[in-house]
Symmetry: D2
Subunit: 335 residues, 4 copies
């Protein structure tokens, strides 16, 4: 067990949204972090302490203040991407050593894609890691800015990347990702889409061919995907059902071996194999559960990947990256 003799000072911008609240909850109880400030997303607004967090963190959320942010060793940004795009250069200029950004501002390396999906981010700084923890620990240790992946790409890539890297997938035959997401993924701002009476008892697809998380998945995977997200009446969690074909001669053993090699020592990936994962098992945890069914004659492989969108899909992965960056126990604050 680590002995965290001297705490790292951390500050949060955007602690009032759902991902931000989760970040606040985790960092307030983190054994190696000292939370020096929790701010809203804008200079003009404070926010009441959250009843749910009473006794866990009892402060009031401060208005956004770059000076105070910059006085921490580490900054977590859970603000809209335009705000991140503006804050990051400023915080770097003021000497902040490590920034963990939960927005999409710095996830895409390609300028054209950024202009299409995240137009606020004209400039991509050096020294950025795409923070899918299990697959990028070395980069995360080095980078001063970690762009934490979106929730959908996290679940998709943890299931697909090891197989793609092992050369087992027939990428040309098409990859279909059918995602089912809880409503907290739509954010805290009330809208028609998040009204209880519109969601309860219903299921709805959205963003067909047009969700910006596709770019992120395709960038990492180097292949085209068809991605359709759906809203289902749960609060937290994502389940993705992924349809691929493997290359001829691929065996069940090779699939198993690729996953085992990738995640053997990963504390937060649980391989459930043919006991397919369910959202309930990962809700409120940082786990990603991955199961699969393989039909060898037809070479069809169905992968099922589950995470809590606010933990492994957002705040939890950010803290996991923080743990990796500072060489803490990867589970610190997360179990």
């Amino acid at each position: 067990m680590h002995n965290y003799s001297s705490a790292v000072s951390v500050a949060i911008a955007g602690a009032s949204g759902y991902a931000g609240q989760e970040l606040l909850r985790i960092l307030a109880g983190h054994p190696a972090a000292s939370l020096t400030a929790a701010m809203t997303s804008s200079a003009g607004s404070t926010a009441r302490p959250l009843p749910k967090l009473a006794r866990v963190w009892d402060g009031e959320l401060e208005p956004l203040d770059t000076d105070r942010l910059a006085s921490a060793d580490v900054v977590f940004l859970a603000v809209p991407e335009a705000a991140s795009a503006a804050l990051v250069p400023d915080l770097r200029a003021r000497g902040v050593k490590r920034i963990f950004d939960l927005s999409g501002a710095f996830r895409l390396r390609d300028l054209d894609l950024r202009q299409k999906w995240y137009p606020a981010t004209s400039m991509q700084p050096d020294d950025v890691a795409y923070g899918l923890t299990e697959l990028a620990r070395p980069e995360i240790r080095e980078a001063s800015l970690v762009a934490c992946p979106g929730c959908y790409p996290t679940a998709a890539l943890l299931a697909l990347q090891p197989l793609a890297d092992a050369g087992l997938l027939n990428l040309a035959s098409g990859i279909v990702i059918d995602a089912k997401s809880g409503i907290s993924g739509a954010g805290r701002t009330p809208s028609d889409r998040t009204h209880f009476s519109e969601v309860h008892g219903s299921v709805a697809a959205y963003g067909v061919f047009g969700h910006r998380h596709v770019a992120e998945i395709e960038q990492q995977l180097g292949a085209d995907v068809t991605f359709v997200p759906h809203l289902v009446p749960i609060d937290r969690g994502i389940l993705e059902t992924i349809y691929v074909r493997v290359k001829p001669e691929t065996t069940a053993f090779e699939i198993e071996a690729a996953f085992t090699a990738a995640y053997d020592s990963a504390p937060f990936v649980r391989l459930t194999r043919d006991a397919l994962p369910e959202v309930k098992h990962v809700a409120h945890t940082n786990f990603c559960d991955i199961g699969w069914m393989f039909d060898e004659p037809s070479r069809r492989l169905v992968l099922v990947s589950c995470i809590d969108n606010l933990v492994k899909g957002a705040a939890g992965q950010a803290v996991q990256n923080f743990n990796v960056a500072f060489d803490f126990d990867e589970r610190a604050g997360l179990s």
Copy 2:
């Protein structure tokens, strides 16, 4: 069975809210009504046709237009009370014969209470009936304006009034009404309170000692009540658990007899007795189910009353009143 040779022309103002949509659905299929106009709540706004109502009613919602409203024989108002308070005198002046108002504007007879709870309604017109159908059929037949009761008072009064009228209740010992309501009762406008992630997995009390429906219940009952509404994670429906004491010597038979006498020929009240009602049995119907448990030694009586807040608690009861007023089959359009 009635033969509805000539349809009555009806118009709706406020058809875009949840109660208004329900009204639209019912009236579009009503065998004796001819729906001539369906409007939003304001002169400046139209609304798209509702996907759910395609093939049932395919029109577009018009902006509010008093002239067009007034050209119908009958007007249903599902607008905020300030709008109702303004529209009613105007529509009457233009010769509309019958108005069914779903707002609270004209429910309270006492000026002081109106000023406290519905300040927009300074003037209470003559010729108004409080439209709790089962208990006011004669008044509804005569009145040119029917003030349809609120959802909570409907469930409460249908359970309490027959016992109070029969002199069985010890009104001085206190009446407690604990209500559990679906979220559609909070209206269609998105807010923190109606956000799926705030409602799902939760239960919350609100409006303790301060809900305006109390005035309505107390006015009709002539007794003080303690009323606490709660939001529960369902879309539609209200269940009220009502705690009263009966007068000494009251028997189980007398309670049963009071209910039977009141509702023997009422098509929409189902007495479930000790098989206590559940929201699921009344959702999407105009039924009010009433059950009860009586502890004779202690004289404690627990009543349970259930309705669909948008049907019997709003649109359905308005149409039921329309049926009574025009001497149609009380069930027309409602079963």
Copy 3:
């Protein structure tokens, strides 16, 4: 409007399950049917009247009795397939003119497939129609036995068949059907899978590569499909997201035209086009809503198809078939 001068006598076996209750509700209110008996699924058991159906149908469910069943003009079977397989020859021998079977017993024409998926049905009688109403009206009019499709195939085939028939689909490139179903589809018998605490807040895939509805879809379509059903925390409804590729040169206009031609005069299919359907809009109705998004450059077509599994996916379609068979208005009892 039809004038249903003489009612057809109908009887139901298996009225206590969820589909059976729905059948009971619809037939009790059907203008051209006279419900002479409603039975459970077995000779030994009765069942209490359903509180939800009070005033709609107040009888008690009788034990299964073939003699009484056979005395009706028309029999609806909502019993397990083994019971259907046994009852059908018996009822035919006793002269029942029309049988509408909701089980899977007689859906598959191929003996090998039946032996694999519905082993109780060794014999396939002559004169059977596969009752997907919109696509089989002539056969339904002629057949004495209508095998009503499963819920998943109903939603899938109504979306796929018109395109396949028009020759627009590249069937060789693989068809993926990702289905999300409400829990009532799992039946009324309590189990771990239907326990509220296991379902609430969760999403789970099941039956990958092994659901028997696949055989039904493949039989009708003449092509292989990959089908993965999921349980989502809703009571009623199915949404299927279907991933296909169209043949080269296929245009958006041709897709539109194929659907319009198929459903132009179909009262229960609503084409929502790029306003993708949602479960909420079809729940408690006999509608099938179909929408689609087409990416012409890549020839990818995503179809979304929605039904209420107990209505269009079971009881409603059975009654729709009954209406077709007797040349009643197809909507009788269903709107």
Copy 4:
């Protein structure tokens, strides 16, 4: 912070039910406990490891075995009361120092009440504490058997007892407790009552005048209560709305003071005052949140009390009692 140099060995009987799983989760991560065995409720059955608990506790549940149970320093019983009634004397005879029983077997001191509600427990051993932690720390420290309270009494008594003890309540005017509970409180065994389709979209009262938790509340309070529990469509959590009258002259300040005195140093009771508690804020925690609204003129007091039924209402409180008994930090393993 405590330094837990030597862990106490603990064993669980009944770890497969919902409360038992929660106990397993908490004790597996408890810094001062060493979990030596986790058993089912019966000698004949094992159970698979729980997917949700993978990486938290990966063992298989053993069949019940009194010898192995008795070899632990401390035994937690989450078995039905008949099993507890049989096991406790046996375990004591074998020298188990401390038993924490989650069943109702030993909660009632009065023989007649036990015979009525928990007939399996003819004998009440000496040296039993009623383990409502905040109000019984001294007794819990001394007792060798702690009868942990039921979930409903926990929420009710934490709200009522401080006021009753301070002499502020008019007990003669009647106490009404209207409770809303999640379905996990009904246990893990599937039944009609716990079927998703019966619960979803519904609310239902049950056990009016006949729930055995009433006896427990009345015993502790020394006053009669009217208690009506309801099932609402949530998984975890209880919200109780409690209607009482205070004695003449009682002030808002006295109410506040009684609560503050009782819970000033209680880590798991949060007084929310007029910001009424909601289930969502306590779910998955050991907190009991208590709020209230006081209408001084009428002396009516409405209390709202919220807990997670499986944590503070069962497993959490048992571990909290364990912490008190061994003089550990009361929060060990619970935050």
